[in-house]
């Protein structure tokens, strides 16, 4: 399996008046061609900021402080702004949660797709238009020749998201980052959109980073999953390993706190597991392991030192003192 994206010890901090918020605090990951990597975590865990860091689109007052991001053998951190712009959309694409915000409401779909193509390829406008129509057809938008002339607000939410996917995949990128792509969509539309996304990326061999807080989505579609907490990766492994054999107390707590279909249909009416405490303030992270104030298995060393990364099994590891 070819490694397409490799991130080593990424740190992105936000320099605010309230202090330095360590949004991403030492994240390492790698993505393989044609594979789906799920990144899960609750609000403030740093998953979105990681995505933005890859594309070097971190907004002020954020700054990538250290770390390496390699796309194939290119160090993205070493590229000039101009070179980075060529990568965006062409080799790495991103789709967002709210397509109304990411699609310009003042321009037709045709305008936006064609612009994206012409920015990166030396082809004629006519050819660009044909490719765009073809892409819309692939994302199952009916009557694409007519639809392409529409404005975003004339389309339904699901269709807009599919248009977004079309735009993102136009140039057949190596990596597609999907940041909560279906959170704003209805469940039945969600299934539709994801189905299209997976099918196309399989055909193209694109690597997908699926960022979401919905564990169900990850369980159903991802190959591997990364669990993030307070700017760090706390567990990583194949979906089966993490869901069936979670090692980190946070992962375990998370899995036990979601209602599982079918578990209450019998006589027992057990309650959901409640994790204690709340997510820490990113400007004032606890000493040692960030999760220790909430951990039911906390030991003395957890409060003093950062836990090392230990392997639970082949390709499955976590950052915790329980195994070290």
């Amino acid at each position: 399996m070819a490694t397409v994206l490799n991130i080593t010890d990424l740190k992105t901090y936000f320099y605010t008046s309230a202090g330095i918020a360590k949004a991403v605090n030492g994240v390492s990951l790698s993505m393989e061609a044609g594979q789906i990597l799920g990144v899960v975590g609750e609000s403030g865990c740093g998953k979105s900021v990681t995505a933005h860091s890859i594309l070097r689109l971190v907004p002020y007052p954020g700054k990538i402080v250290s770390g390496y991001i390699f796309l194939d053998d290119q160090n993205l951190m070493a590229l000039s702004k101009r070179e980075m712009r060529r990568i965006r959309g062409d080799q790495i694409s991103m789709i967002f949660q709210e397509p109304m915000i990411s699609l310009n409401p003042a321009f037709t779909i045709e305008n936006q797709l064609v612009e994206a193509l012409l920015l990166h390829l030396k082809i004629s406008k006519g050819e660009a238009r044909d490719r765009a129509v073809e892409m819309l057809r692939l994302v199952e938008i009916p009557a694409p020749e007519r639809r392409i002339k529409e404005y975003p607000h004339q389309m339904s939410g699901g269709m807009r998201q599919r248009a977004m996917i079309a735009e993102a995949l136009l140039l057949r990128p190596k990596v597609l980052i999907a940041d909560e792509p279906t959170t704003a969509l209805d469940v039945t539309i969600q299934a539709q959109v994801l189905d299209i996304m997976y099918r196309l990326t399989q055909e193209m061999g694109t690597a997908i980073m699926l960022i979401t807080h919905n564990l169900g989505l990850v369980a159903e579609s991802a190959n591997r999953v990364l669990v993030m907490y307070a700017g760090k990766v706390v567990e990583e492994g194949s979906v089966r390993d993490v869901f069936e054999n979670a090692g980190h107390p946070y992962t375990q707590g998370l899995l036990r706190s979601i209602p599982m279909p079918g578990e209450r249909r019998g006589k027992e009416q057990h309650q959901l597991y409640e994790m204690e405490g709340i997510v820490p303030d990113l400007t004032a992270l606890p000493r040692g392991c960030e999760f220790h104030p909430r951990c039911p298995f906390v030991k003395e060393i957890c409060k003093q030192e950062e836990p090392p990364w230990c392997a639970i099994g082949p390709g499955h590891g976590m950052s915790c003192w329980l195994l070290a």
């Binding site: 609750e42 609000s43 339904s156 939410g157 699901g158 269709m159 209805d186 469940v187 039945t188 539309i189 969600q190 299934a191 539709q192 189905d195 807080h213 919905n214 564990l215 169900g216 989505l217 990850v218 369980a219 159903e220 979906v239 089966r240 869901f243 069936e244 707590g253 998370l254 899995l255 706190s257 979601i258 209602p259 599982m260 279909p261 079918g262 578990e263 209450r264 249909r265 309650q271 959901l272 597991y273 409640e274 994790m275 709340i278 997510v279």
Partner: protein
């Protein structure tokens, strides 16, 4: 219905919103947000109301509380018909029917303190002394796991989960018989959702009220409800007990909805039913059955005649030509 007390009963409920036909054309079109539905809520139970956007579930919740006035149909609360009651006559009843909102940020007045927010319902109460009111507020705060020192704080000093608990305390302090919970978990993190779900259940056990639990999240609805009603474009397509609905869903929409919900378990690829097409615009509802344009099992009659609401036995109802 049987020996159970019925707290709320709704028959042929309709709510239509007029929409101007166009800039220059005369007359109005109607958005049939709620289009002739009926159901009951029994004492102490939780009726889950699920549906996607445009299903009319939120509008239904507000109609039964008379926060919106229905266009047609009848509503009974604790045996009394409240459909046309004046606002003045409704006031004493309002204590018994409360609401919990989705957004913990806009549902609390940012200029009021916790004490004022929770105690608002007690404000006009003449039977309790100021000290008794304070005690009751503190007691309710304790029940929702808020600490006494939160008494004088303002909403912006709290997290989303805590704010939601303030909203719950506000609803619960008046000892209502029924609470409409309108997507109370959607704005919260997964682990906080667990806290709030458990809290809602504990309170229900203690106080004995009924919930109308409105949500688009089927896993949560399954967890917390006794019976569930599924809505699509203003109509209830199926109503059954939790076990019946999940083990034996009848309506094709329910079936596809259930299969579309992502399950946080690693399992073999399920036979997913992916619906084709988008949800129709509420301004141009399909003829006949609302769902027929996307239904994988439609037959000829579905595009012509709207299906009737039928009792399929065992407390299981559905509106579909297949039955």
């Amino acid at each position: 219905m049987g020996t159970m007390n019925t707290v709320l009963k709704v028959e042929h409920l309709k709510k239509y919103f007029p929409v101007k036909k166009g800039l220059l054309r005369r007359g109005y079109d109607f958005v049939r947000a709620v289009d002739d539905i009926q159901f009951e809520i029994h004492e102490g139970e939780t009726l889950g109301l699920v549906g996607e956007s445009g299903s009319g579930k939120s509008t239904t919740g507000r109609c039964i509380l008379r926060l919106i006035d229905p266009t047609g149909g009848r509503i009974w609360f604790k045996g009394q018909e409240i459909t046309d009651m004046s606002r003045k006559a409704l006031r004493p009843l309002r204590q018994s029917m409360q609401i919990i909102f989705q957004d913990p940020y806009s549902s609390l007045n940012p200029r009021m303190t916790v004490k004022e927010i929770i105690g608002e319902g007690l404000w006009s109460n003449r039977d309790l002394s100021a000290r008794e009111k304070k005690e009751r507020i503190l007691e309710t705060m304790d029940r929702v796991a808020l600490r006494p020192e939160h008494y004088d704080r303002h909403p912006h000093e709290f997290s989303g989960g805590q704010r939601q608990r303030i909203g719950i305390a506000r609803a619960v302090i008046l000892n209502p018989e029924m609470i409409v919970a309108d997507e109370p978990l959607s704005a919260l993190d997964v682990s906080i959702q667990a806290q709030v779900i458990n809290l809602l259940e504990r309170l229900q056990e203690e106080f004995g009220f009924s919930y109308l639990f409105i949500s688009h999240d089927l896993s949560v609805v399954e967890h917390i409800s006794t019976r569930i009603a599924v809505m699509y474009l203003g109509k209830i397509v199926e109503l059954a007990s939790k076990e019946e609905l999940y083990n034996n869903p009848k309506h094709p929409y329910t079936v596809s909805l259930l299969s579309a919900v992502p399950v946080p378990k690693v399992q073999k690829k399920r036979g997913r039913i992916i619906l084709k097409g988008d949800i129709p615009s509420p301004l141009q509802l399909p003829k006949g059955c609302n769902f027929h344009t996307r239904c994988p099992r439609r037959i000829k009659i579905c595009s012509e005649v709207a299906p009737e609401w039928r009792d399929l036995g065992n407390g299981h109802y559905a509106a579909c030509h297949l039955y």
